[in-house]
């Protein structure tokens, strides 16, 4: 492992890494919810899923 002073640019602290990971997980969960939502709506509405009443 290199010493911190040998690294270039911004070095994230452990806390910042944890927060970045938490944000990534939250985005993944949101995308997962959208996938499940679109799947369920397709089941309910059938093949004409985008045909909607005005």
């Amino acid at each position: 492992m290199s010493e911190p002073h040998e690294q270039h640019g911004i070095v994230l602290t452990e806390e910042q890494k944890r927060r970045r990971r938490a944000r990534s997980v939250a985005i993944a969960v949101s995308l997962g919810i959208l996938v499940v939502l679109f799947y369920l709506v397709t089941l309910v509405k059938g093949p004409g899923v985008l045909q909607r009443p005005l």
Partner: protein, 307 residues
């Protein structure tokens, strides 16, 4: 420039936010009231909705409301920092960068409107888009810092959700959904002016032209009573017009009378306590009206099946 302040500048360039900070941008307490009133509009509509579609509609409305909250906090970060009540919000507290809140709000607004339009119907999607536009552009950017009528006109944004719920179920707009709109519309001024009476210093410091700051407390108390005089009969109207039962009617008459009594007392008893009580009761009042519209419909449907 010292090394320390240089590194502070650098760390300010990337996000150090917790997930919870983003959730705070969505104004969860406002969102819960939006979802509740939208749900009531959706259930009261004469067209039954598949549970999955109802969930989709409510999710989009909730996220759209959250997006409006995030965009409001992005634009108002400067005045939020000057007010006691809003000082700890993510942007003034330095936990989220303004640009992050702007991007987050725009993304959620776009997704919620497009998904509601495509999966549910265009009327509901258009109403949601208009609501977000109204709250962010008309209220936040234009009226809030300019006129004491800010919350009167801007209150329309908070009054739209039951109409969106109704439109999600029926694809249209009708007298019933407009009445739900009017109830919230006339509820908003007494509610916020009661709050502004005991927060007048805060608003004055932030330079927001709330009614007590501009026209004085006396005029504010008078205006609160005028709006409550319109609100109380509107609350009873769903029963008088026949789309809510007598149980709702009794609740609306009793709580409406209590609202009026508190507003009248506010004219003579010029204390923060009287204003706080009206503010607190106004929340309970709106909640009870909508809850009993819901209960009334649920009981009616049950009796309909049994009978």
């Amino acid at each position: 420039m010292s090394l320390a302040s240089q590194s502070e500048k650098l760390t300010a360039q990337f996000s150090t936010a917790e997930v919870g900070d983003y959730l705070a941008l969505l104004k969860p307490r406002v969102m819960s009231l939006v979802v509740f009133t939208a749900f009531v509009g959706l259930v009261l509509a004469p067209v039954p909705m598949h549970p999955v579609m109802a969930f989709t509609a409510l999710l989009c409305i909730a996220v759209g409301a959250g997006a409006a909250g995030a965009l409001n906090m992005w634009y108002d970060a400067d005045i939020d920092a000057r007010m006691q009540r809003t000082r700890a919000r993510p942007i003034p507290a330095g936990r989220i960068l303004p640009g992050e809140a702007l991007g987050f709000g725009l993304l959620l607004a776009g997704f919620s409107v497009v998904i509601l339009s495509l999966l549910v119907n265009l009327t509901a999607g258009a109403l949601l888009a208009f609501t977000i536009f109204f709250y962010v552009v008309v209220y936040t950017m234009w009226l809030k810092r300019w006129t004491p009528q800010n919350i009167v006109i801007g209150g329309a944004a908070g009054a739209f959700p039951p109409m969106i719920g109704w439109a999600a179920a029926t694809g249209g707009i009708s007298l019933e959904s407009v009445l739900l709109f009017l109830i919230i519309f006339f509820w908003t001024p007494p509610h916020f002016w009661a709050l502004s009476l005991y927060r007048a210093d805060d608003y004055a410091r932030a330079g927001i032209p709330m009614l007590p700051v501009v026209s004085g407390e006396r005029e504010t108390r008078r205006q609160i009573l005028i709006y409550t005089l319109i609100l109380a009969p509107l609350g009873v109207a769903p029963w008088l017009l026949g789309f809510a039962g007598p149980v709702y009617g009794v609740i609306a008459v009793v709580t409406g009378a209590a609202m009026l009594a508190l507003a009248i007392r506010l004219l003579t008893e010029r204390t923060d306590r009287a204003a706080k009580q009206l503010f607190a009761f106004s929340i309970l009042y709106l909640f009870l009206l909508f809850a009993f519209l819901l209960i009334d419909r649920a009981v009616g449907a049950h009796l309909g099946v049994v009978g």
